[in-house]
């Protein structure tokens, strides 16, 4: 029994280095993604992550055209493209009658079209697969280091801007009336989204990068109220999904990145059903009301 559990859960990680690397990589990813995902969710920007993930593509493609499948070039390219879209969208939103969703939608779709055009300029299919689906089972030292740096930076910056960030979510009008920092805070936050997406991009690919950002955070909403606890729960859910996804993909021979996201998806469905804060079962089978 114990042996079986060992073989199932621990064995793969003891036996293969690439599994250990994948585990560490996904944990690092989760560590940064948890607070970012929670704030995206609370700011009703759940789909913005998706948009930004597409916006990164042309930068990564230019990096790839210049330097081939190089970690540094693709990272820097993606960073520049993502932040450029974020800044442009922010400028348009604050100076025209367009809301943020519209300005972001227009820039990211331009960016995506540009990216696809660039990738197809020098299209060998294997590389394209890396771009689309990532390579969580082939994380080298540099990529691991990048993922760890991203999560470290994210945690420190979020800790630093936590108060204005919360205020920007709850009562942006009030923040504007007492401080001019709102726009800057928003921009810093979007840049954090971009670097976390780039981390996700290397591990999970552009299509699923946003998965580790949003699914654990959304699932966490059903388990607690309070921003800090949500970040904690979201972190636990992300780590659990990583372990489950890796083990499952190892034993069943499934593509790893998508399996990890599917594991997070499964946890989300369970949370949706039985979560104590607004879960479906609670709503359809209400408990008796209290005395006062």
């Amino acid at each position: 029994m114990i042996q079986a559990a060992y073989d199932l859960l621990i064995g793969p990680f003891v036996e293969f280095e690439f599994m250990r690397r994948a585990l560490i990589g996904s944990f690092a990813l989760t560590l940064g993604a948890a607070p970012i995902g929670v704030f995206l969710l609370l700011r009703r920007m759940s789909l913005v992550g998706d948009a930004m993930a597409h916006a990164i593509l042309p930068g990564a493609a230019i990096g790839y055209l210049v330097a081939g499948l190089s970690l540094g070039a693709m990272t820097v390219g993606g960073l520049v493209a993502g932040c450029l879209v974020a800044v442009l969208a922010g400028v348009v939103t604050r100076n025209t009658l367009l809301r943020e969703d519209a300005s972001l939608a227009s820039f990211y779709i331009i960016s995506l079209a540009l990216g696809v055009t660039l990738v197809s300029l020098k299209g060998s299919n294997i590389d394209l697969l890396h771009v689309l689906f990532g390579s969580v089972l082939a994380l080298d030292d540099n990529t691991l280091l990048l993922l760890a740096s991203i999560s470290t930076l994210t945690l420190f910056v979020v800790a630093f801007i936590y108060r204005p960030l919360v205020l920007e979510c709850v009562d942006p009008g009030f923040l504007r009336s007492v401080s001019g920092a709102g726009a800057a805070i928003h921009l810093v936050f979007l840049c954090l989204v971009v670097i976390n997406l780039i981390g996700g991009f290397h591990a999970m690919g552009t299509l699923l990068a946003v998965g580790m950002l949003m699914l654990p955070a959304i699932a966490a909403r059903f388990w607690c109220s309070g921003v800090a606890t949500m970040i904690g729960v979201s972190l636990l859910i992300g780590m659990a999904s990583s372990v489950i996804g890796l083990v499952l993909s190892y034993h069943a021979g499934l593509a790893t990145g998508p399996t990890i996201i599917l594991a997070a998806g499964a946890i989300y469905i369970v949370s949706l059903l039985i979560g104590p804060h607004g879960g479906l079962i609670r709503q359809f089978a209400p408990q008796r009301h209290l005395e006062a």
């Binding site: 609370l42 919360v166 205020l167 709850v170 009562d171 007492v178 920092a181």
Partner: protein
């Protein structure tokens, strides 16, 4: 007496159409002023102009000894996301933001002040409640607690008692009286003339321009109210440029 705010031939509006036309006058330090007038008279527009959220089309607003950000402002519909998981205590504590800065520490003294503010508006016991669980009146009390902490010398209130019951209105009026006694300048947009007559010494009656600005009893006399009612609310889309002397 020194003034806190002075309007000099102020025109505020949207898309070049004036919502308030050629308003001049002074608000003295320590004034307790009610701003009255029909819907669309430019009352909220005036407050937005005072806090600097709206730039004058012409004329100027002079603020003495205070930047726009030193003015505490309670908008008509605060755009608070009530579904956000934050406690009453934490939201009220945001009133200290000017004082401690975006990153400063909130020490024990300040925590005591936060608790006092919550008690002062009668919300003791609500500290740990998520803001989404508050009723409309409790919400307004909470926002007044935040105003208390802001400790501003000029306080603007835009229809603070709309949809608020008598008891809460009385409590909040007591707070306003306290601010008045502390020589703070309070400007409130109000529709309830009874409340205005009983609690506000001075009234500015607006109807897209100044109808009256004097002691409340005079400002709200029948003549003035009738004139305010005759205000034309719609913009004239074919209006010419205003040539009135600046």
């Amino acid at each position: 007496m020194s003034y806190a705010l002075r309007f000099r031939d102020l025109t505020l509006g949207y898309d070049r159409h004036p919502a308030i036309h050629h308003l001049s006058g002074e608000i003295s330090q320590g004034d307790l002023l009610a701003v009255c007038g029909p819907n669309g008279a430019g009352k909220s527009t005036l407050l937005k102009g005072i806090v600097g959220a709206l730039k004058p089309l012409s004329g100027a607003i002079e603020r003495v000894n205070c930047a726009p950000r030193d003015i505490a402002y309670l908008p008509q519909a605060a755009d608070i996301d009530r579904s956000f998981p934050i406690r009453v205590y934490d939201l009220v504590s945001m009133g200290l933001l000017r004082e401690v800065g975006l990153f400063g520490r909130i020490g024990r003294d300040l925590r005591v002040r936060i608790e006092h503010a919550i008690e002062a508006v009668g919300l003791a016991g609500f500290e740990d409640r998520p803001i989404g669980t508050l009723s409309g009146g409790q919400m307004q009390r909470m926002l007044f607690a935040r105003l208390l902490l802001q400790d501003a010398s000029v306080i603007l209130l835009d229809e603070p008692f709309t949809a608020i019951d008598d008891k809460t209105t009385t409590d909040l009026l007591d707070l306003i009286a306290r601010w008045h006694a502390e020589k703070r300048t309070v400007i409130a947009v109000l529709h309830d003339f009874d409340v205005v007559r009983r609690h506000f010494p001075k009234t500015l009656l607006l109807a897209r321009e100044k109808v009256a600005w004097e002691a409340t009893a005079v400002a709200l006399n029948g003549d003035n109210l009738l004139r305010a009612r005759r205000m034309v609310e719609a913009f004239d889309t074919a209006a010419h440029e205003c040539e009135r002397a600046a």
